[in-house]
Symmetry: C2
Subunit: 280 residues, 2 copies
């Protein structure tokens, strides 16, 4: 595995692969890798000839009061893990190269960026779209792999790529969970033991929603009420949003539509903000 730290060098490497006719897979990450990331890496290795992984904690997608500085980092462990998986290129990058002094250009997906996580994190998806478009211009992957845990991110990036006529295929893969159901997240590392237990309320509230729907409930407000009831039972938990939306355009749904509905939530466990979702 090559560890590459400059844009020029990684462009050259990718150019070499392309000139050899190889299909390029790309997994952009913020590092502190877990099995969720690795499921994407394995998918890329399976589906493509060459896999590049980026580890870059993108400052532009964190608000001024958010956890940019606290976000967990361990690049040497990440490199070891990726090497063992058989990744070809690990791309890391300094902020001053990604966003040189006087940086000015931003990409937005209107409306889609203002709901769910975007409502609580203004500018977050603008930062995500901008860095991902930059990485796509640098790596020029054929397929880019993203996790369903960041459901809104996946919908927005698909929309961005389609709207901008970019060539890359966005491939979205299932949430990987702990045995008890907690969705894997780099932020789980920030939870204290009691908080780790409380964090289960995200998954369990989604299960409550699923059960209610299986029993015939289709009224979004009633389902959301049941979910919030479950979350409110945890002293350490404070929901940020619980919403039921169209899985393709993120518009609010008053009724659950089979196959087309995304139930998504964000919950603060202490200072740690966690997200989870299911598609019904």
């Amino acid at each position: 595995m090559k560890r590459i730290q400059t844009i020029k060098e990684v462009k050259n490497e990718m150019c070499r692969y392309r000139s050899e006719g190889q299909v390029i897979g790309f997994v952009p990450t913020m590092g502190y890798l877990h099995e969720g990331h690795l499921s994407l890496v394995r998918e890329s290795i399976k589906q493509t000839d060459r896999t590049a992984v980026s580890v870059y904690v993108n400052p532009k997608q964190f608000g001024p009061d958010e956890d940019y500085l606290q976000y967990p980092r361990d690049i040497d462990r990440d490199a070891d893990v990726l090497e063992k998986e058989g990744v070809d290129v690990l791309f890391t990058c300094q902020d001053r190269e990604m966003y040189p002094k006087g940086y000015k250009t931003y990409v937005e997906v209107q409306d889609y960026q203002d709901v769910l996580c975007g409502a609580s994190r203004p500018g977050h998806f603008r930062g995500v779209c901008t860095v991902v478009l930059k990485l796509f211009q640098i790596i020029k992957p054929d397929i880019a792999f993203f996790g369903q845990k960041d459901a809104q991110q996946a919908v927005i990036l698909k929309k961005m790529v389609k709207d901008l006529n970019a060539e890359v295929k966005i491939s979205v893969h299932p949430i990987v969970r702990e045995k008890d159901g907690l969705a894997l997240s780099s932020r789980n590392a920030l939870l204290r033991p009691r908080q780790r237990k409380a964090a289960l309320c995200l998954y369990q509230s989604l299960q409550i929603a699923k059960q209610a729907i299986l029993k015939g409930q289709t009224d979004s407000l009633k389902i959301i009420h049941l979910m919030k009831e479950r979350i409110n039972k945890e002293k350490q938990a404070q929901w940020d949003y619980v919403e039921i939306v169209d899985k393709n355009n993120l518009e609010s749904l008053s009724k659950v539509i089979k196959g087309e509905t995304l139930i998504a939530l964000a919950v603060y466990i202490g200072q740690v903000r966690l997200i989870d979702n299911i598609i019904i």
Copy 2:
């Protein structure tokens, strides 16, 4: 010359050129071609193996009260002219394919887009950046050719490409003028004979600025005053802005700096808004 009207088809054609190792030149235009456009086309044909020209009047770069509907169009004449020049591909596109229903994605170059023409035309450069980035994703040119007449556009697109790490080179070429100095513009076709005469005040005010600077004047306010005096002599003319800025970042300059100064102006001649500029 191939006339191509769909994104899919033009992508395929460009892909074929690339697979043959050919260098692709691209001249994006809004049509109603004049010698200014053709100077770019000839430059592309000289410098590259294959030249694609797009003719697309981009609705997203016109404000609601602007001249989108009045903008002159003559695609058949444009096609004849381009064929004679030896262009390989003429790409035209329906609005519903460029911006399908539910289109949401926009690209912005902050600050740069808010001065000069951007101050009078809010959203204009967002529209320009968005359509040009889309066209770059579709055509994937090695070199794209733009005219110095749209000085701010050229600066913004260079900045966009640099910030987004896009591969394309932006090549900017001199203003082509009528014998009497009027900068060529598709909008000149909208001028009545008396207006055509009045329109000379743009070029002449730039010449007045140049003469003043040659005589040692470096004070921007004094130079701008001389220029506005010239424009105000024309009954039909109403200046929108007259500004002296850094040619690289478009920031206002209180003093002229040799080699680094852009003097730019926009003037309404009746309802027709014309622009012109020089670099000192």
